[in-house]
């Protein structure tokens, strides 16, 4: 099955920072030419350090941030050209689940009020809105009694379930999960991830799953993209990324994951240790953005930005040395 639901092509998002006392006005390129496709019913995971622009992608898709270049197509129609009612419908096709379960529900509203408000926005209004509320609660694994509670009476996992129910109110096809389980305890996290998986199977949802946590992505994602300084440096299926990473940055990230999540690989890869801080996104390095921290960096990396190309193992990677016989120096 390959019906493309979402197609992002060469997306650019630049933030302008206005001048203040003691600082100049600057433009911060948060997302620099990102392209990917997402098929219906599948999950694309995006990983990267904080500040790599992964949340900005989600926020731009949701219309919270404005793109400065590139295009986003949903079901084949250009999102940038949508206005009025079409835009509203587009927005409902895509929903978002946020990171902070303590801030994503209005603390003044009961669960039922939050959900009813969202249900009323649906195109085809259900005959019994309250019945719909109960159904949704059941769907996310909460009993009817939760309808009359307020957010502060709920645990983090329960809040996140309510957030999911709220997103489901408008019948979305795609849900953006921006660090949706990062704030939860490990045991609760697994439950919520399983819930998301079940919903995907039942409803055919697609997820854009943003996380800095690779083990979460390994569990959730069908495809994985690795972001560094506003660019996707490697993009492939879960197995390609986790078993045969090509980009030195991906390898560094995988090396940083504590055991035993990724030890079961067939080919043992040399460890790459990442040193230094990510460079400022206001002023990205020339050539390959990763070169100041890359153990493989050569002269070409300083001058020429590597194009994204298919590597011998199948995935896309943006590295001059992305070959299967890559020799990695021990860092």
């Amino acid at each position: 099955m390959s019906s493309v639901l979402l197609e992002v092509d060469d997306l650019e998002v630049t933030f302008r920072r206005s001048a203040g006392p003691g600082r100049k006005a600057a433009s911060v390129p948060a997302v620099r030419g990102v392209s990917f496709q997402l098929e219906a019913g599948t999950t694309l995971g995006i990983a990267g350090e904080s500040g790599s622009g992964k949340s900005t992608i989600a926020r731009t898709l949701m219309g919270i941030n404005k793109p400065s270049g590139g295009s986003m197509r949903l079901n084949g129609s250009d999102v940038g050209a949508l206005r009025g009612r079409e835009l509203a419908e587009y927005r409902q096709t895509m929903q978002m689940i946020f990171q902070d379960p303590y801030d994503s529900l209005d603390p003044r509203m009961k669960v039922s009020e939050t959900l009813l408000e969202a249900i009323k926005l649906r195109k085809n209004k259900p005959a019994s809105p309250l019945g719909e509320v109960y159904q949704l609660l059941e769907r996310v694994g909460l009993s009817k009694s939760f309808a009359s509670r307020r957010p502060r009476e709920l645990s983090g996992g329960q809040r996140q379930r309510v957030s999911i129910a709220r997103a489901l109110c408008v019948d979305p096809r795609l849900i953006l999960c921006d660090e949706a389980v990062s704030a939860l305890d490990v045991s609760v996290r697994a439950q919520v991830l399983n819930l998301l998986k079940d919903l995907q199977e039942d409803l055919g949802l697609a997820y854009l799953f943003i996380s800095h946590d690779l083990s979460t992505l390994r569990f959730m994602a069908d495809y994985v993209g690795i972001m560094y300084l506003g660019k996707i440096v490697e993009l492939g299926t879960r197995d390609e990324i986790f078993e045969r990473p090509q980009h030195p940055y991906t390898r560094a990230l995988l090396s940083a994951v504590p055991e035993p999540v990724v030890v079961d690989r067939t080919v043992r890869l040399p460890r790459v240790r990442l040193t230094g801080e990510p460079p400022s996104s206001t002023n990205p390095p020339t050539g390959c953005s990763f070169h100041p921290r890359c153990p493989l960096a050569q002269e070409v990396c300083r001058t020429t930005a590597p194009a994204r190309r298919v590597t011998s193992s199948g995935q896309l990677a943006a590295c001059h040395f992305a070959e299967p016989e890559l020799v990695v120096a021990e860092a």
């Binding site: 949701m62 219309g63 919270i64 509203a88 927005r91 409902q92 895509m94 929903q95 978002m96 946020f98 990171q99 902070d100 801030d103 994503s104 529900l105 209005d106 603390p107 003044r108 509203m109 408000e117 969202a118 926005l121 502060r152 957030s163 709220r166 109110c169 408008v170």
Partner: protein, 307 residues
Amino acid sequence: MSDVIPAAAAVDPFALGDKPVRSREVFRSLKKDPAALVSIIVLIALALIALAAPLLSPHDPLQTYPDIGLGPQGQPLPPGTPGFLLGTDALGRDVLSRLIYGAQVSLVIGIVANGLATAFGVLVGIVAGYFGGVVEAILMRITDVVISFPILLLCTALIAVTTRSTFNVIIVIALIYWTTLARIIRSMVVSLKEREFVVASQTLGLSHRSIMWRHILPHLVPAIIVYTTLGVASSILIESALSFLGIGVPIPSPSWGQMISDGSTYFQIAPWMLFIPGICLILTVMAFNLVGDWLSDMLNSTTPTAR
């Protein structure tokens, strides 16, 4: 007026929580703050007196008694004179009756003027903070202009443009007071609209109006309550200052500020004309300030007593 101090600026709007307060907590915190309890009782009593003014006042506040209300040389009678419990003023009017009706004027002006100012300030603050950009720039520059305008001159000019009436005094005070609130509310909304539950409502496709009404305004309620209470105190003070300068409520009306103003001419022979309304004014303003302080303590989410 540069020499009238807005008590509201002492409150940190961001410390005011957005959790609902239950009546049990209200009573508990009132028990810990006897001054606030007394203030509330004083204000309720004052409101009742103002409402029942025609029943309570021994004389008509506008009626002059040139024969029985003035001394042999035509001087005002001191407090304790039979028939005139708190004495008379220079025209032989009963001070007590004027005081009772004055409570009506002061409360009505304080509350109505401040209610209008609050409504307008909150509206401007929410719209500016929520929409940002050009809308915000225009609204906040207008606010800057009004704030930078010498308040008293603005009042005087506005009252000169129209005529001297209670209604105009109310409008003028409202026009002065909305700016402070608009700035505070704007800064609160700017941070509120970044909250995830607001962003979530936007992504659901809720209209701007619904978001402002249902998800932003309710979170401003504690701040609005506190600032409005303190604002009533400021409004009463401003009204008295306007009356003192001769541009307050029209002349025969017994406003406290007007009574002090009258008293200032005769204070050498009739100091009670100055003292009595002044003390009433101070006590009322104090009561509003104390209640405002108590509310901001109770609603303050950072102090443990409020939880």
